[in-house]
C-alpha cells in the first residue's frame, strides 16, 4: 500500500569544527594537544572561564531534527543558503557520510550525482572511462554495454572515443562525464547542482534529460541555487536553513518563502556585516549603492534611466575584476555584468579609489523587484561572493510617452517605435 520512496526521521548530523579538527591533523599535533589540553583545561578552571567540555570541541549541527517523507514519482527541489545542510542531507541519503542521530529508510535503488566525472582517470580513453565511471555510479556491465552508443551520442564525442581523456577539451570532458551520469536509471535520483556544465546547447540538452527523468515518474531530489531551474524541474520544494527544515510545500511557495527571507535578511543586515560569503576574503565587497540621479539622494528607479551600480571594496589587489548578476523575484537570472569583459569605453581609475562603478546608459528592466549577486576576483583568485547582496525595485513609468508596466513573465523592455498599417 505504501508509495513511500524515502522516509527521514529526526535526522541530525554533527560536525566538529575547531577543537580536534582545527589543527592540520598530524599525529604529533594530536599528541601535543593530548598532552597539553588537560593543563589548559585546568588553567581555564582556575581563571573561572570554564564552561563545560563543550567549549573545547566546537561542534556544529549541519542538520538538526529533519523529518520528511518523499513518495515515488515526486520531484523535490532542495533550496537554502550556503551551509544550510542541503549537501549534507544528500550525502547522508547517498550513504557517503553517516548521520549522528535519526534514521533514514529508502525504498528502491538510489543513484546519486553529487559531481560528474567522479573516478574519471585522465590516462584512460573515453571508452574505458565510460565503463569505469558507469560502474562507480552503480551500473551493471550489461547496462553500460546496452547504453554505450547512446552515451557516446549524447556526449557528441564519437571521434575521440578511443583517445585518453587527458587530451580532451574541458568541454568534451564534462560532456562525457555528464552523459554517463545522465544515463543512470535508478528509481530514486539525487542530484546536486551538476547541471551548470558545458556550453548552452549542451546545458539545454541536460535539462531536457532531467525533465524526461522526472516525466518518467521517477523520484528526483535536486539541490540547486538556481531558483528558475528548480521551479521548472520540481513540483515540491524543501527549504533548509541552518540545518533546520523551514518550509516543505509546493515548489512555488517554498521558493517564495526562501526569497522572502533572503530579502529580509539583506534589508536588515548591513552588507559588511554579512557572514554568508564565499571566497578567500583578502578583499571584500563592503557596500553597494545604486545611483540613478545626479545631486539627489533617493529617487525611485525607473525603466530607461541612466543608472550606476557602485561597489565599494575593502582593498585593491592586482588584477581585480567584479561580476554581478541580476535575478527577478522568481529567482530567474536576467542579466550579468563582468568587468573583465573589457570594451574601449571602459575607464581605469586611479588605483587608490576603492570602488567599481558600472554605468548603464538605459536600464532595460521592466518594473518589479530584483536582487543582485556579486562576485569579486583578484590576485588570480576568487576573493568574495555574496548572494543576494542587494535588492531593488523598479517602478512603473513611461519611456518616450509609452507606459512601461509590470509583466507576468517578461523582464526586459527595449525602447522602440512601431510603424503600423493603420
Amino acid at each position: 500500500m505504501s508509495n513511500l520512496a524515502i522516509r527521514v526521521e529526526t535526522l541530525s548530523k554533527q560536525y566538529q569544527i575547531g577543537g580536534s579538527q582545527k589543527t592540520y591533523n598530524r599525529l604529533s599535533d594530536q599528541i601535543a594537544d593530548f598532552v597539553v589540553s588537560p593543563f589548559r583545561r585546568a588553567g581555564k578552571i582556575l581563571q573561572g572561564q570554564f564552561s563545560g567540555a563543550a567549549e573545547l570541541d566546537v561542534t556544529i549541527w549541519a542538520l538538526k531534527d529533519v523529518s520528511l517523507e518523499v513518495n515515488h514519482g515526486e520531484t523535490v527541489g532542495i533550496i537554502g543558503p550556503n551551509g544550510a545542510g542541503k549537501t549534507t542531507l544528500l550525502k547522508i541519503l547517498s550513504r557517503i557520510t553517516a548521520p549522528t542521530e535519526g534514521r533514514v529508510e529508502i525504498y528502491g535503488r538510489i543513484g546519486s550525482l553529487l559531481e560528474v566525472g567522479t573516478g574519471f582517470h585522465p590516462e584512460l580513453t573515453g571508452r574505458e572511462n565510460i565503463l569505469l565511471n558507469g560502474t562507480i555510479l552503480g551500473m551493471k556491465k550489461r547496462e553500460i554495454d546496452r547504453k554505450f552508443d547512446e552515451i557516446v551520442d549524447f556526449a557528441e564525442i564519437e571521434k575521440f572515443i578511443d583517445t585518453p581523456v587527458k587530451h580532451y577539451s574541458s568541454g568534451m570532458y564534462v560532456r562525457l562525464a555528464f552523459s554517463v551520469a545522465a544515463h543512470l536509471e535508478p528509481e530514486i535520483l539525487i542530484v546536486d547542482e551538476v547541471l551548470a556544465v558545458g556550453d548552452i546547447a549542451f546545458q539545454k540538452k541536460c535539462l531536457g534529460k532531467m525533465d524526461a527523468v522526472a516525466q518518467e515518474g521517477r523520484t528526483v531530489l535536486f539541490v540547486s541555487h538556481n531558483m528558475g531551474l528548480v521551479q521548472s524541474l520540481c513540483q515540491r520544494g524543501i527549504y533548509l536553513n541552518d540545518g533546520v527544515l523551514v518550509c516543505d510545500d509546493t515548489i512555488k511557495s517554498t521558493v517564495a518563502a526562501y526569497l522572502k527571507t533572503l530579502e529580509n535578511s539583506s534589508l536588515s543586515q548591513h552588507l559588511s556585516d554579512r557572514k554568508d560569503r564565499q571566497g578567500l576574503g583578502h578583499t571584500k565587497i563592503i557596500q553597494i549603492e545604486i545611483d540613478n540621479c545626479e545631486n539627489c539622494s533617493t529617487s525611485p528607479i525607473m525603466t530607461g534611466q541612466l543608472i550606476k551600480f557602485v561597489f565599494h571594496v575593502s582593498r585593491i589587489l592586482p588584477l581585480m575584476s567584479l561580476t554581478f548578476s541580476i535575478y527577478d523575484h522568481l529567482g530567474q537570472p536576467v542579466v550579468e555584468f563582468n568587468s573583465r569583459n573589457r570594451g574601449p569605453q571602459d575607464l581605469i581609475k586611479s588605483t587608490n579609489e576603492l570602488t567599481f562603478i558600472c554605468e548603464i546608459d538605459r536600464l532595460l528592466l521592466l518594473p518589479g523587484r530584483y536582487r543582485v549577486d556579486a562576485w569579486l576576483a583578484g590576485d588570480n583568485n576568487f576573493q568574495d561572493g555574496i548572494r543576494n547582496a542587494l535588492t531593488f525595485d523598479v517602478v512603473e513609468s513611461q519611456i518616450n510617452g509609452r507606459p512601461v508596466a509590470v509583466q507576468k513573465q517578461f523582464r526586459v523592455f527595449f525602447p522602440h517605435r512601431w510603424l503600423s498599417p493603420n
Binding site: 508509495n3 535519526g102 529508510e105 546519486s112 567522479t118 562507480i136
Partner: protein
C-alpha cells in the same frame, strides 16, 4: 500518478542509521560490488605504467636490480651465507614476494587518500580501494615470478614436491599486505604522517626479513620471535617450496601465519569501524 513496480515494496531497501559499537563486516555487500573491485584492479593495471618508457618491465627491473646489488655487496663482499644456494637466486626468491609486499603496502596505504574525491562523492564499500591496490600488484608479481623460474632453470634447480604449498605462501603474502595496508590506509585518512612513515618502515622491515641473509643465522630460541614478522615466514616458505632449502616450515611459519591472520582481521575491523568517518575526515 504512475509508479514503478518497486513502489509496492514494504521493506526498505536501505536503512541508514548512526554507527554504533562494533559493526558487522558486511562482506555480502562487498560481494555485490565485486564488479567495481574488478574495474578498479583493471584501472590500476592499465594506468600503472602509462607514459613510462620501460612500461611493464619495471615489474621485473625492481627486484632484479635489488638482487644484483644484494649479490654484489652481501653475497660477494660480505660473504653472507645463503643456505647452500647460489646467492643471486637465494636473494631473488626472497625479493619476488618482498617486492610485491612492499609495492602493495605503499599503494594500499595511499589508496583512500588518493581516492578521496570518490569517497566524498560516491558510495561504495570503501574496502574495495585498498583491496584493489593489493590485488592489482599480482600481475607484477607473476611477471617477476616468471623471471625467478627462468633463473631456476639457469641454475639448474628443480622445484621439489613442496611447490604444491606455493599458493598458500602467495595467499599469506596477500593477507599480510592487505592486513597492514588496511591499518595504514585507515590511519592515513586521519594522520598524513603515514605517507612519510611507510617508505621508512618498508626499509626497516626489509632488513628484519630474511631476504639478504638466511633466517638460519638467527639462533634457535629467537627464531620463533623472529617469526612474528609475517614476511619472515613467507620468504622462508618461498625458498623452501621452490628451491628446496632444508629449512622446513617449522614453528616460525606457524607464528608468521598466525600473525598475518591477526593483523588482517584486526585491520579489517579497524577499517570497518572508521569507514563511516572517511568522507568527513579525508
Amino acid at each position: 500518478m504512475d509508479t514503478t513496480k518497486s513502489a509496492s515494496l514494504d521493506h526498505p531497501t536501505t536503512v541508514i542509521e548512526p554507527p554504533r559499537g562494533w559493526i558487522s563486516l558486511q562482506l555480502n555487500e562487498f560481494w555485490d560490488y565485486r564488479y567495481l573491485l574488478y574495474f578498479f584492479i583493471w584501472r590500476d593495471i592499465k594506468v600503472r605504467y602509462k607514459q613510462t618508457i620501460l612500461g611493464g618491465s619495471w615489474a621485473i627491473i625492481q627486484p632484479l636490480f635489488t638482487m644484483v646489488i644484494f649479490s654484489l655487496f652481501f653475497g660477494k663482499l660480505a660473504n653472507v651465507p645463503s643456505d647452500g644456494l647460489p646467492y643471486p637466486i637465494f636473494s631473488f626468491a626472497g625479493l619476488v614476494p618482498w617486492t610485491y609486499f612492499a609495492n602493495s603496502l605503499t599503494q594500499a596505504s595511499n589508496s583512500l587518500v588518493s581516492g578521496a574525491n570518490m569517497i566524498k562523492k560516491i558510495y561504495f564499500p570503501r574496502l574495495i580501494l585498498p583491496t584493489a591496490s593489493v590485488l592489482s600488484g599480482l600481475l607484477d608479481f607473476f611477471l617477476s615470478f616468471l623471471v625467478l623460474l627462468g633463473m631456476m632453470f639457469f641454475y639448474g634447480i628443480l622445484p621439489t614436491i613442496n611447490i604444491i604449498w606455493l599458493p598458500f605462501f602467495i595467499l599469506l603474502t596477500i593477507i599480510t599486505s592487505l592486513g597492514v595496508g588496511l591499518w595504514f590506509s585507515t590511519l592515513n585518512v586521519q594522520f598524513r604522517d603515514v605517507r612519510y612513515m611507510v617508505p621508512f618502515l618498508i626499509q626497516a622491515w626489509l632488513f628484519s626479513t630474511p631476504i639478504a641473509y638466511p633466517s638460519s643465522l638467527i639462533p634457535e630460541p629467537w627464531r620463533i620471535l623472529y617469526g612474528l614478522n609475517p614476511m619472515a615466514g613467507v620468504v622462508e616458505g618461498f625458498r623452501w617450496a621452490l628451491l628446496g632449502t632444508d629449512t622446513p616450515p617449522g614453528p616460525m611459519l606457524i607464528v608468521s601465519s598466525f600473525m598475518a591472520v591477526i593483523v588482517f582481521i584486526s585491520g579489517l575491523y579497524y577499517f570497518k569501524r572508521m569507514e563511516k568517518t572517511f568522507a568527513d575526515v579525508v
